[in-house]
Amino acid sequence: MYQLALSRMREFYREPEAVFWVFGFPIVLAFALGLAFRNTGPGKLHVGVLAGPGDSAVAVVLDSSPRLDATVLDSATARLRLRTGRVALIVIPRDPVIYRYDSTRTESGLARLEVDEVLQRSRGRKDLVAVRDDRAVAPGSRYIDFLIPGLLGMNLLGSGIWGVGFSVVQARQRKLLKRYMATPMRRSHYLLSFILSRLVFLIVEVVALVGFGWLLFGVAVRGSFASLAGITILGSFSFAGLGLLVASRAKTIEGVSGLMNLVMLPMWILSGTFFSYARFPDAMIPFVKALPLTALNDALRAVMIDGAAITGLGMPLAIVAAWGAASFVIALKIFRWR
């Protein structure tokens, strides 16, 4: 049993590609997405001022706003830049002043408001109500805070299904399963060895991803690490069970790959890994919530972002556990040993 789990692990870490996809890929993804959606303020809006009388005066006024970056452009360049999105809006300094922009673009709408305010104020408009900004930049409310638990969930799903599925089918294809059947090895030990070795890799995965999020983006775990450990272990068991189920009959790597994608792709999209599943129509929500990855992501976010205790997460954890138990039992029943 111990030797089985050990060889499982050795076979895994000696496969450099598998190691990359399981550990490296989520980190690269988190890094890229974290950069793309970083919270360094909304950034400057680029606007163009059409060349003409008084253009530079207008540009100077607009540039004085911390949120605008104005450039004087001739009409051909202005048209091109507006079309390609390099500038959000073109100001044509005539009387009346003309704002040319695409009203369907959020950025252009913002630029319209900002440009108008700056121009009006420069001509003496006064604010009638006193206001003060209170910007939410505290850790916990950023996109990366949402993303890291989702990636963790996705990673547990992926490594569970890939890690277990591929090695089972490969062993079957190489007649290694049959060879094991010719020894006194207990079948349950074989299946359990996958779960055991998953547990070891789980620690590495969680530490790598959570540590990465914390170091680079300051994504903290607000709840206890014990809760996080409990949830990830449960999730990992559950997905290993799902992996066994996926691999229980397939005879070829091609066959099992198809099945894996069939299982994983819908969950990646539906289960709120990259964006909240609340965006789906209300009728779909109960179905989406019943998926194991949704339940796991919810539980992970509750612990990491809201600092919830594991005891308060009975429902999602029950869903995760039920999926795992059901697929393990079915896998055991229908497993093709030859």
Partner: protein
Amino acid sequence: MIGVCCTNLVKRYGDVVAVNGLSLRVSRGECFGLLGPNGAGKTTTIEILEGLLEPDAGEVEILGLTWQDHERELRQRIGVQLQETQLGDKLSVEETLRLFRSFYHRGRTLDELLRIVELESKRHSWVGKLSGGQKQRLAVACALAGDPDLLFLDEPTTGLDPQSRRQLWEIIRRFRAAGGTVLLTTHYMEEAERLCDRVAIMDHGKIIALGTPKELIASLGADHVVDFALTEGGIPQDLVEILRQMGGVTAVRTGSDGVSLTVVELHRALPALLALLQQRGVELSLLTTHHASLDDVFVALTGRQLRDT
């Protein structure tokens, strides 16, 4: 003492009958060979005996026990090498053996196993980097891990070069010398002649001949085979008749590639043949002789060559 005993085994795959009422008995300490062309049902038979396949009919007894009642005990006491197992490429020789050793209550030590199959120098190499012969020796080492009483080997030397083949034969001989029982399948007649105490020749799921290699060869009634062909190609029927009457010739077989004579006394038959052909004014394009082997037994029984079936 019974090593392996089975009676009236039948196994069908759809319409194809792979094993058709096969019975055999192997004593303890014996090396028994199942011989036959590809598709004769050797692998199906050995896998039924190994308890990996369920027969459609028939009884199997291994070391006096049945698979139904004593599977756990039997698994501990037999060693198996399957025809097409590929061990994990990314594990080292040592790790693979440790893994297999861990399945058995008792067994040989790692060092013993490595020494038996002469893989000490490859101890830390990955399985994927081994040569075909080394892989096969490792597979046999895995089968020996539990120090079995009975060893099943399914085509242990197929596809190996002559030197690797001899190395494996030596391993099997040593296992036997220590009192082990071996049941192996092969389609190399030479292997069966050198290694086995008794062989069963199989064809179409049945045993068509059974005995010691010597007995089987003796059943041909002659100890030499002469193959020849003529430049003209075909051979006239009357010449075949004359050959049949010739002294020392026990059988004449004509095929597309020439004529094959089974003869008792080569030193008499050969000059007589040459004289006859000269007298008829025909010329030889081929002439070879060899000691009668199990190959010739198979040809005599089925009319087919073993290798090209």
